[in-house]
Every structure is written in structure tokens, then in C-alpha cells.
């Protein structure tokens, strides 16, 4: 028997497998394929203070080993979440985290505060890295100062576990991670999507209505692993790693690089049961290589 429990700075997960916001809906979409309670937890779609219609169609383009999206945080707002989604999720025996987005500090703070009132949401993931909204979003996550400011403000209004999701579209990811740590984050997750674009050469038009969008999938994994490795060796708070994880081996690569837990994102579209495939694969790997406790893998890369 392998011990897969991890403790992310007080947030207890039965295993390190979470899902990435925006790729797992509200979890229930996957209930036909996945026993949700087997997961370490899942992170629901980006939630904002007010409802958002998101960006116009087309919002998606396929790329080599990846995809671009320009959903633009379509969601029904935090109150709808509290009233309609939360009751369906609150009794699940797993960790349900809410991904909180905003276009100004006040919005982030107020959304976080309202989520904070829900007893069975143990943590939020603060999204300061969405490339698909005009104001806010990624702008906060690409500058240490403004990243620190929004985290500090939310920290005051939110008492539970505060995970902050970082943008990879930066020169120095460590400086952002440190700023966020100093401002009171309990953990960081990385990476969000890379800003990319694609043009249809037949029509000469951009493939996304917004021209640029966020790139995800296996294509980005090597950059994501590098950033996780850099951050994990330079901050004290735990790191949640993601970006292109499809298989258990991918997940283990992030753990070896220093992540304490991981998120499965775009892979859910390829295999709606990707999360349990990854989970089963991690267990198998541990058995095969004589790993008794998942903590042996975390940061376990040999040099």
C-alpha cells in the first residue's frame, strides 16, 4: 500500500491529483466517467463577482500537441455559484476549490469573501493569470508588485487556504512567486496558459475571436516543469504543478521537479477519465519502484 496523502500547508489531500480550473466544469460534468471522491480535489471554473458572458465564438483552436482557448471567464457569478452549484458539491468527500478571478482588486476581494462563507470550500485558487480578459487577469500576474497587492488584499478578507495561480508569461517566475508568498499566499499553482495565437491561412483570419488566447496541453509541459522546478526551489510554500499533464509519468515529472500536488487540465478533454488514469498510474509507478510514500517523490529529482 502506497501512502498518497499530501498536506499542502494545512490543506489535506487524499492524493496529489486535482483538476485544473476551466477544464473540469463543476466536476459533475465528469461524474459519468470519474468517481469524483477518489480525487485529491477539484477546482471549479473561474468565478467572478458578476456574471460574464465570456468572449464570442470561436473560442478554441487546436495546435500541435495543444490548444488555444479564449473562453474569457464565462460564468454566472459568485452568487449563482453559492446558491446553485455549491449545494450540489458541498457533500462530496473531496476538496472542492473555487478558482477566483476578477478585473480589479475589489472584485477579487469580494468574491473571495463570499466564497469564504461557504463552510465546505476549504480553499480558493486566486487566478491572477487569465490571458483572456481585457482588464485585470494576467496583468496582475505579470508584475511582482501588483501580484503582491491583490494577494495581500484577498489575504485580509479570506481566512482559509489561499492558493495563487501564476502566469507563465513572465521573464522571472520566481520573483512573482516570492512576491505572492510574501503577501501571504499559502501555496502557488503554476502554470496558467501561455498567450498564443493562430491564423487560418485560407481565410487569413485569426482562429480565435479575440485574436490571442491561452495555450495549454502537452506542448507546454517542458516550460511548465522548468518553472515549477525554479519556484519550488525558491519559495517555502508548497507548489501545485500543472501544464500538459496527460499521463501518470507526466504527473510524476512535476512531483520530482518539486510540486506537492498536480492538476490535470486539457487532458480531461482528451480522456474524460484522465484524472483516474493518472491516479491509478501514480499508484502503479510507486508500487513498481518501491515508493512507500508519495512524499519520497516530491522534489526527488536526482542531479
Amino acid at each position: 500500500m502506497v501512502n498518497l496523502n499530501v498536506d499542502i500547508n494545512g490543506l489535506k489531500l487524499k492524493n496529489p491529483v486535482l483538476t485544473a480550473s476551466g477544464t473540469f466544469g463543476f466536476g459533475l460534468e465528469y461524474a459519468d466517467f470519474v468517481d469524483l471522491e477518489r480525487l485529491g480535489g477539484f477546482i471549479v471554473k473561474g468565478t467572478t463577482l458578476n456574471p460574464r458572458e465570456g468572449n464570442p465564438y470561436p473560442r478554441m483552436a487546436e495546435t500541435a500537441s495543444g490548444m488555444l482557448n479564449a473562453v474569457g471567464l464565462q460564468n454566472k457569478g459568485v452568487d449563482y455559484f453559492c446558491k446553485e452549484n455549491y449545494p450540489q458539491l458541498k457533500d462530496l468527500k473531496t476538496n472542492v476549490l473555487v478558482n477566483v478571478s476578477g478585473s480589479c482588486i475589489e472584485d477579487y476581494v469580494e468574491t473571495a469573501r463570499r466564497i469564504g462563507e461557504l463552510p465546505n470550500i476549504p480553499a480558493i485558487e486566486l487566478n491572477i493569470s487569465c490571458p483572456n480578459v481585457k482588464e485585470g487577469g494576467m496583468a496582475f500576474g505579470t508584475d511582482p508588485k501588483s501580484a503582491g497587492e491583490v494577494v495581500a488584499a484577498v489575504r485580509k478578507a479570506y481566512g482559509k487556504h489561499l492558493m495563487v495561480k501564476l502566469s507563465p508569461n513572465v521573464t522571472n517566475i520566481v520573483s512573482i512567486a516570492k512576491a505572492v508568498e510574501d503577501a501571504g499566499a499559502d501555496s502557488v499553482s503554476l502554470v496558467n496558459t501561455f498567450l498564443g495565437m493562430a491564423i487560418d491561412v485560407r481565410t487569413r483570419r485569426p482562429k480565435l475571436s479575440t485574436i490571442t488566447g491561452g495555450m495549454s496541453g502537452p506542448a507546454i509541459k517542458p516550460i511548465a516543469v522548468r518553472m515549477v522546478w525554479q519556484v519550488a526551489h525558491n519559495v517555502k510554500i508548497p507548489v501545485c504543478g500543472l501544464g500538459g499533464i496527460v499521463t501518470a509519468e507526466d504527473a510524476i515529472e512535476f512531483l520530482l521537479a518539486g510540486a506537492s500536488c498536480i492538476q490535470v487540465g486539457t487532458a480531461n478533454f482528451l480522456y474524460p477519465d484522465a484524472t483516474v488514469r493518472v491516479l491509478d498510474g501514480i499508484e502503479l509507478y510507486c508500487e513498481k519502484y518501491g515508493v512507500k510514500d508519495i512524499s519520497e517523490l516530491i522534489g526527488g529529482m536526482k542531479q
Partner: protein, 257 residues
Amino acid sequence: MSKKVIRDLRVIGNERIGGSFFMLTLQSEDALPVIMPAQFAEVKINNSVGTFLRRPISIHDVDYDKQTIQLLVKIAGDGTATLAHLREGDLLNVVFPLGNTFALPLSGRVLLVGGGVGVAPLLFTARYMQRFGFRPDILLGYRSKSNILRKEVYEKFGNVFYSTDDGSFGEKGTVMQHSIFNSENFPYTEILACGPEPMMRALAKWALEHKVECEVSLENKMACGIGACLCCVQNTKDGHKCVCTEGPVFNVKQLLW
């Protein structure tokens, strides 16, 4: 809606049926879930380097006894071209059944309208109606006589009318130019349609003008197929709707066309 499944289905037939069309027959080891007309499958294409995401394909026909589904596919790019090379015995990983179904009663005087590969979901729709003792009329539009797909099968389930762009079979012109839409009285209470967007837009306009109930099945680009990613949205009077779960079937009154 019935439970969705992810399954490796075995290819037991892959038939070229003219032009760039082929028909895959896929068998499941376990009993099939309940499948409704216009529902679709998301197919994982493993050995095409250019195909990252699954491909949505309508369920063309279902045989619960043999535990088979059929997909009628047109080669549109790398992914579908790779499917065309599948051989008997190969496995195909499929997520199904996905999407809604027609909301209008399938019991009145129903006209099914299809164009090109849009004829795919109509076969199972007609078969489904037969099971409840109904027989739709079916209007199929093709480029030319040589493009007509599986003529006899459709004719088992309803009276089939044809239009071809070049007049080589049935009436000449588009489906909208067919006499059905251009005679004194229109005998149908509902129209259910699937086909290229320009055809569906023209049909929607006609139906709204003539106050005939009309539902169309759309083909937006999808990433997940199960309502999780919000990529496939169609703008409607009630805002963005997911084509994969709140569609593919929409009443034309809902659309902002």
C-alpha cells in the same frame, strides 16, 4: 439523458461509400447506452499527429441487438482521413452518447431536411420514429446524383425527396428551392434539419417567416464535448449556450441568425 460512457469500440466495418464518405461500424462489448436522435460521439484519433482533440461525429445508426453504432463520415482533414484508414479489428476510443435531442414531438407530420454530411443523424432519427409508428418525409439535398448516400436505407423509413444542385436527380437546386418549400400549402408541423450552415440559416429564415416549428443541429468546434470547457458556444437569445450539451439541436427561434 442517459449515462455517457467512454469505451474502446471494435471496428467491424469500414466501407467507402462514394466520394470522400465512409461508414464506420463499431461494436461494443457491453450493452449500448440509450441513444437519442441527433446525439453524437467524440472519437479519439490516436495515430494522426495533427489531431490533438477528439472529433465529434453524429451517431448515424444504432443496432442495440448487435451492440453496434454506425458513423457516416466525410473526410475533412487529417483526423477524419485517419479514421478512413481504420481496418476491421482495430479499436477506437469513443465517448458517447453526447448532446441533446430534438425537443419537438417526433410524432406529427415531420419533415427531415438534410444536406451533405448533415444527412448523417437523420437516419437514426427516422428509424427512431418508426419504432413509435411514425413515418417522416425526408428531403435530402446533394450536389449531384453521384453524391447520394445510402438511398435505399433512408427510403425504408420515409418518403424521400431529393434536390441536387445540378438537377441530375430529384429537383434541381438547393433544398430551399425544392417545391416542398415553394408550393401553396406546407403540410408539415415540424422541420428537423441538419446540414451546412448556409442551408440551415436559409431554412431558419423560411421557417420563422412561415411560422413553422423548426429545429436545427449545429456543428460548432468542440474541445470537451461534455459541457466542461465552454468552447463550443452558440450565441442565442438567452446568451451563450453550449452546442455539446444544450445542443447540438436548437430551435431556430432561439438563435440570433
